[in-house]
């Protein structure tokens, strides 16, 4: 998306309800800035994120997709993020194999106390994706305005 002649990426962030979504709330409470490019979707646990959702976001024009969950060992449901970790490692490796830029995907563990980490992560991720420019390789052209 071009804003005032400058490219702004569209970032979809899946956040688990118990840690990362709360961490994002804390970033807000502490007024820690990160770009408005980030749109958060709340899921009960990072393990609810189906690879289909990640692909769908890319298909519909997202420039980057990030998943945030509780730190390994702290999952509200004990083991959810361990499964996430395996699933996303394999999915991202496959996207890389298909020639999709590695910087467009990321998993980060953010606890409910890590508002600052959430903001920092989003700033870094936005910057990295902005550098890559528009996601052309994984986009469904029909869905563009």
């Amino acid at each position: 998306m071009q804003v005032n002649g400058e490219f702004r990426p569209l970032i979809v962030a899946f956040c688990c309800n118990w840690c990362s979504y709360a961490g994002a709330d804390l970033a807000g409470t502490n007024r820690l800035n990160y770009p408005a490019d980030v749109k958060i979707i709340r899921v009960p646990c990072s393990c609810r994120v189906n690879p289909m959702f990640v692909l769908r976001a890319f298909q519909r024009g997202a420039d980057g997709v990030i998943l945030c969950g509780c730190h390994p060992g702290d999952c509200h449901y004990t083991s959810g993020n361990y499964f996430t970790r395996r699933r996303m490692t394999l999915l991202f490796s496959m996207l890389d194999f298909m020639g999709i830029e590695r910087e467009r995907t990321r998993v980060e563990w953010v606890s409910a106390a890590e508002g600052a980490k959430f903001a920092k992560t989003m700033n870094e991720f936005c910057e990295a994706v902005a550098k890559l420019g528009e996601n052309k390789r994984l986009e469904d052209l029909r869905c563009k305005k």
Partner: protein, 672 residues
């Protein structure tokens, strides 16, 4: 057709300062399905809630979107409000335009733009919401405690105190557990039996508590509030109801050479036995492996002398079935086997003993009647060599060790530093002529009055604490033990000639814990300790709803900590049993049987064991009937994490409230 109402909150200036709330309300009015949109100063206020309720009624809304603060803050508020106006509370969605929008963005244009997108995502989601009703399940008001040690006893007493029935299942002939074998307790040095036996008696006398001793749990089915357990009452060949515990049978039993497990094999007992004087229930048990009558049908002495006629050689194992609302695992621990640590010569010399064996040697009811003697002199206690003059304690035997030696444990067993200080102190107190050495790696004494206790052993009682480890113990021909170890502080190798070596053996969960964990579908760590639902915030609950953890089965701990946890556990159990029915979380997984392959992938990733399979008949398109294995989710057990929905390849498994299509719709709306 959906009729959605959208409410945009100013939150004073919290939102309105960086988001043009009027523009948001205006923009979403054009969205499909939206029939009403408005902005308001404080949506969460009484007046704001009334606005929502009035609009629901007037506009006949089928869904509500509130653009406001985080759903973690006020989702419950608006759900309740909607329910009062007759709308299903799960038809409410929140767009978080404060914490995740207005508070982090400075620029009005981008803030407003993002708020509109977040509102659209919430609208897209609510369009696919379905009314959900939490399921209700009744609660059986009875608890099962597996294990009758101090943990199980305390939990049972506290639950009974609150007025609920409790059954204790204990595999030994008596309750009491490890604490019955301990002589004194740290840091107060009061006698363990003196504080434990009253509690055991309380259990026996409490009408609410039923003790199944010499029994084991065979199987458990069901889920929170509705467990069914099968308990095997092993045949003890003595009628519990008739036996008075007089001990006449024990007196007359001719079979005297049975290793006495209560004294860790340091002495012998009879084939019919009562483990110790204060046993509860105080009932004799026949050990069929040794009983002459059971083995070759000759003897019958105990039956002849029993005035109550309680002996029954033909008794059979009995299975009873009982329903429970909650189950407590209190399976306890055992010292590890240390035969593999041959550098300590445990298998070679009777005078190398474990700390638990020392407890028995120092106990007045023990094999030496409380006189500390070298085990090799147990039968000749009057010999002047019988009393050990030099005693070496070795810390961390099998604890804090990598897998390099089989049977060793990576964790710290936590209790050894303290009981060793206790032993050393008691010995020095009673036998001041004894030299006591303690080889340690670290002395770990966090706890109230703990470090003071350890310092007392050093300063007041003159116990020699040596920083270093024992490398080798060699039995000498004269029966003494050569102990070779390092003193890291003086940087020399020490050689001590000892009469007795005491090994602070690592503790491990009882061997039965693993099978009980499987029965309860309660998860365990690699060391076979039960996993807690949350390591910090839910330490006495298992992730499996309705299963609670008490004592060392969750991790190494001492008596005060065990009792604390046991009571905390009881509080949690009571909190469950006091409810007449359980209201479930309706946001649970469900399986579409027509799509299900029965492949078991979902079951493998479910941390709660909520998924079961059954064979069902399905009519095929060609009108034949086929039997297929399909999954079903128990909504009372499912916690709604969604792991199964991703593991399911066919998409048969979906999650209420966060369905595939709902999340997909949000993604689409965000990326539009």
């Amino acid at each position: 057709m959906h009729r959605i109402g959208v409410f945009v909150c100013h939150c004073g200036t919290n939102i309105a300062a960086t988001v043009d709330v009027k523009a948001v309300a205006e923009a979403v009015r054009e969205e499909t399905g939206v029939v009403f949109s408005a902005d308001y100063q404080y949506m969460c206020s009484e007046a704001g809630q009334t606005l929502v309720q009035d609009t629901i009624r007037e506009q006949r809304l089928t869904g509500v979107v509130v653009c406001s603060c985080s759903p973690r803050m006020h989702e419950a508020t608006f759900r309740k409000a909607a329910a009062k106006a007759g709308l299903n509370s799960y038809m409410v969605e929140i767009a978080n335009i404060r914490e995740q929008c207005s508070w982090i963005h400075k620029d009005m244009v981008s803030g407003t733009e993002k708020a509109i997108i977040l509102a659209r995502a919430a609208i897209a989601k609510v369009m696919l919401n379905t009314p959900l009703t939490p399921g209700k399940t009744p609660v059986t008001k009875r608890a099962l405690v597996i294990g009758g040690g101090i943990a199980g006893i305390q939990t049972a007493l506290d639950i009974a105190e609150a007025g609920f029935d409790v059954d204790i299942v204990e595999k030994q002939p008596t309750i009491g557990g490890k604490m019955t074998q301990i002589d004194k307790t740290f840091p107060t040095l009061d006698c363990a039996s003196c504080i434990l036996t009253p509690k055991m008696v309380d259990c026996a006398q409490n009408e609410k508590i039923h003790i199944y001793s010499y029994s084991e749990v065979e199987s458990v089915t069901g889920f929170v509030g509705n467990f069914t357990a099968k308990i095997k009452r092993k045949a003890r060949f003595v009628d519990e109801k008739k036996c008075t515990g007089c001990g006449e049978c024990v007196e007359k039993c001719p079979m005297k050479k049975v290793p006495n497990e209560f004294n860790l094999g340091l002495d012998n007992r009879k084939a019919i036995y009562i483990p110790f004087a204060q046993a509860v229930p105080k009932v004799a048990t026949i050990d069929a492996n040794y009983c002459l009558m059971k083995k070759n049908g000759k003897c019958g002495l105990c039956s002849k002398v029993c005035g109550a006629g309680a002996i029954n050689y033909d008794q059979q194992d009995e299975i009873i079935e009982e329903k429970y609302g909650a189950i407590v695992a209190a399976t306890g621990y055992n010292p590890i086997k240390i035969d593999k640590f041959d550098e300590f010569a445990y298998s070679q010399s009777p005078d190398v003993i474990t700390s638990l064996e020392l407890e028995r040697l120092m106990n007045a009811a023990g094999p030496s009647n409380g006189t500390l003697v070298r085990p090799s002199y147990l039968s000749k206690q009057d010999d002047h060599e019988a009393h050990p003059k030099t005693i070496v304690f070795v810390q961390c035997v099998g604890s804090r060790s990598t897998e390099c030696r089989k049977g060793s444990k990576e964790y710290c067993s936590k209790i050894c530093c303290m009981y060793t200080a206790k032993h050393a102190m008691l010995i020095r107190e009673k036998y001041p002529d004894t030299d006591v050495y303690v080889f340690y790696i670290d002395v770990r004494t966090p706890g109230k009055l703990f470090d003071e206790f350890y310092r007392r052993a050093v300063e007041q009682y003159g116990v020699h604490y040596i920083k270093g480890m024992v490398g080798k113990v060699s039995p000498r021909a004269d029966g003494k033990l050569d102990v070779q170890g390092s003193d890291l502080i003086s940087n020399e190798q020490l050689h001590v000639t000892a009469d007795l070596v005491v090994l602070a053996t690592a503790i491990e969960p009882d061997k039965t814990a693993r099978s009980i964990g499987t029965m309860l579908t309660a998860s365990m760590d690699t060391n076979d300790f039960f996993t807690e639902a949350h390591p910090k915030l839910r330490p006495v609950e298992s992730p499996t709803a309705g299963v609670f953890l008490s004592g060392v089965c969750q991790g190494p701990k001492d008596i005060p900590e065990t009792v604390t946890q046991a009571s905390a556990c009881a509080a949690k159990v009571v909190g469950l049993l006091v409810k007449d029915e359980l209201t479930g979380n309706p946001c649970v997984a469900h399986s579409d049987e027509l799509m299900c392959n029965g492949c078991s992938a979902c079951e493998k990733v479910c941390p709660y064991g909520a998924i079961t399979y059954s064979d069902k008949e399905f009519r095929q398109p060609d009108r034949t009937v086929a039997i297929r294995r399909v999954a079903s989710v128990n909504p009372a057990v499912c916690q709604g994490c969604g792991a199964c929905t991703v593991a399911c390849p066919s998409g048969a498994m979906d999650l209420n409230g966060f369905s595939n299509s709902q999340i997909m719709a949000e993604v689409d709306a965000v990326c539009r």
